[in-house]
């Protein structure tokens, strides 16, 4: 009955390839780093100015000068390099990062993405999200299939059109939810395609919880 957060992260990790440079968003995407296959070289970029991000430090070894884009203390690796914010986003915008895995509030069937603000709520800012979705070659969204509202109802997140303010237009290549996996032909007119079902999930389960149009081509 649907994937756990860990299973979603493990599925997202299948998008990694040897030699990839990858930027991971906060939340479930962060967990993906636990599923990098042994022997595969994947360098993580942190957009505040670092390539080759290591794990959290041992207690007592935190360094205030060494944080990731989530402002968490981290460590370096032998492969690490540091650079400025403008160099970091030059790297991102210039298409040098192979893959970005990030969360979303809404994704539309044309690849539009909303994940930075909800009108009427305090806006904290888009940070680096708009640059990442615009600049990174391949964008993978990992999110719950539906949003749970305070009144107990559910709202679809995979939509015909996003109604929240956009982070980017025609940017999402792949969506991994707790219920399944969709590809999106973000630059063409191929639309959205359901390609995998999570364990114990049926096509009908997904149909009931998806507002956007999609074709089915299960692998």
């Amino acid at each position: 009955m649907a994937w756990t957060r860990e299973q979603m992260a493990a599925r997202a990790a299948k998008e990694l390839e040897d030699g990839f440079y990858v930027n991971l968003g906060i939340g479930i995407p962060t967990l993906v780093s636990n599923y990098i296959p042994e022997g595969m070289s994947v360098q993580l970029q942190s957009e505040n100015g670092m390539l080759g991000m290591g794990p959290f430090p041992y207690e007592g070894e935190e360094d205030p000068d060494l944080i990731n884009a989530g402002k968490q203390t981290i460590t370096a690796l032998p492969t690490t390099s540091y650079f400025s914010s403008s160099d970091s986003f030059g790297m991102i915008r210039g298409g040098h990062i192979n893959l970005s895995i990030l969360g979303a509030m809404q994704v539309a069937q044309n690849g539009d993405l909303a994940n930075w603000m909800i009108p009427g709520k305090m806006v904290k800012g888009m940070g680096g999200a708009m640059d990442l979705v615009a600049g990174v070659k391949r964008v993978v969204v990992v999110m719950e299939h539906v949003a749970k509202n305070k009144d107990g109802t559910e709202s679809a997140k995979l939509l015909k059109e996003c109604d929240l303010p956009l982070t980017g237009t025609h940017v999402v290549d792949l969506v991994i939810t707790d219920l399944g996996v969709f590809t999106i032909d973000k630059k063409g007119d191929g639309g959205m395609t359901l390609i995998e079902l999570a364990d114990g999930v049926s096509e009908e389960d997904i149909r009931a919880k998806t507002e956007g149009d999609y074709t089915v081509a299960l692998k």
């Binding site: 007592g60 000068d65 970005s100 904290k124 888009m126 940070g127 640059d131």
Partner: protein, 261 residues
């Protein structure tokens, strides 16, 4: 700019002409109401905290602050918010700051959100004599509203303007008396671009050394960009999110986390 005797304004002599005694002396004569100040740092990492304290103490008001973040309550730029010295922030993410939220929701504080990469590039452009450039970032979003858009080779782009401030405050790990700077790890962030993008850049450094002590191949900010420099105490630096792992942890906890800050 650097008039007055070395004694009178707290500077030292001769080859030390850029070196000032402390943050108050280094800002003397530069601050006025309604000016634009760039402020280095990402979160609390690499922020020019002592220089910010001196801006607070000066009492100047109506400031436009260019900074990726807005500090936290009582730390960094959070202090200038408490004293209501800030009229406008140009930032990419303001995080968890109660005083900020209160003033913003109450209409007392204006905020211009820029995508982080656009903000970084606007500052870099301002310092490099580029008045405007095109970027894919934000096309088709609120960020592009009111801005010129344009296609190049079939892709859509937004035109963004360079940013140039009255003063820039930066923090570096090491600096020499000529103003050459070197940053440490991710404390580099916005500091190098900001150092280039203001009429007067003031640097606080943890280690003030003599010219020649920094390997010239490893200088991040050439001295030409730094007009005034002070040495600061390297006391305990603040950490915003202390995340660790246990020594007996078999699978190291993930440490990624970007995308929205």
């Amino acid at each position: 700019m650097l008039n007055g005797s070395a004694e009178a304004d707290g500077r030292k002599d001769g080859s030390m002409r850029k070196v000032f005694k402390g943050p108050t002396e280094a800002l003397a004569g530069l601050l006025r109401d309604d000016m634009m100040i760039m402020c280095g740092g990402f979160g609390l990492c690499g922020i020019p905290d002592e220089l910010i304290d001196a801006v607070q103490a000066s009492g100047v008001k109506g400031l436009t602050i260019v900074s990726n973040n807005a500090g936290i309550d009582g730390v960094g730029l959070g202090k200038l918010l408490e004293t209501r010295q800030v009229a406008k922030m140009i930032s990419s993410y303001v995080g968890e700051n109660k005083e900020f939220a209160r003033q913003y929701l109450g209409g007392e504080l204006e905020i211009e959100f820029n995508p982080q990469g656009t903000l970084a590039e606007r500052i870099r452009a301002g310092g490099a004599g580029i008045p405007a450039f095109f970027t894919k970032t934000g096309f088709g979003t609120k960020v592009a509203e009111g801005k010129e858009t344009r296609q190049f080779d079939g892709e859509d782009y937004v035109m963004e303007r360079g940013l140039f401030a009255d003063i820039a405050l930066v923090h570096a790990h090491t600096g020499d008396t000529e103003g050459n700077l070197r940053y440490r790890m991710t404390a580099r962030n916005f500091n190098p671009m900001m150092a280039t993008a203001a009429k007067v850049t003031i640097a606080q450094v943890e280690n003030l050394v003599q010219p020649g002590e920094i390997d010239p191949d490893t200088i991040h900010t050439p001295g030409i960009f730094v007009k005034r420099i002070i040495a600061v105490n390297t006391g305990e630096k603040r950490i915003e999110q202390r995340t660790t792992r246990k020594r007996n942890d078999a699978t190291p906890a993930a440490a990624a986390g970007g995308g929205t800050h």
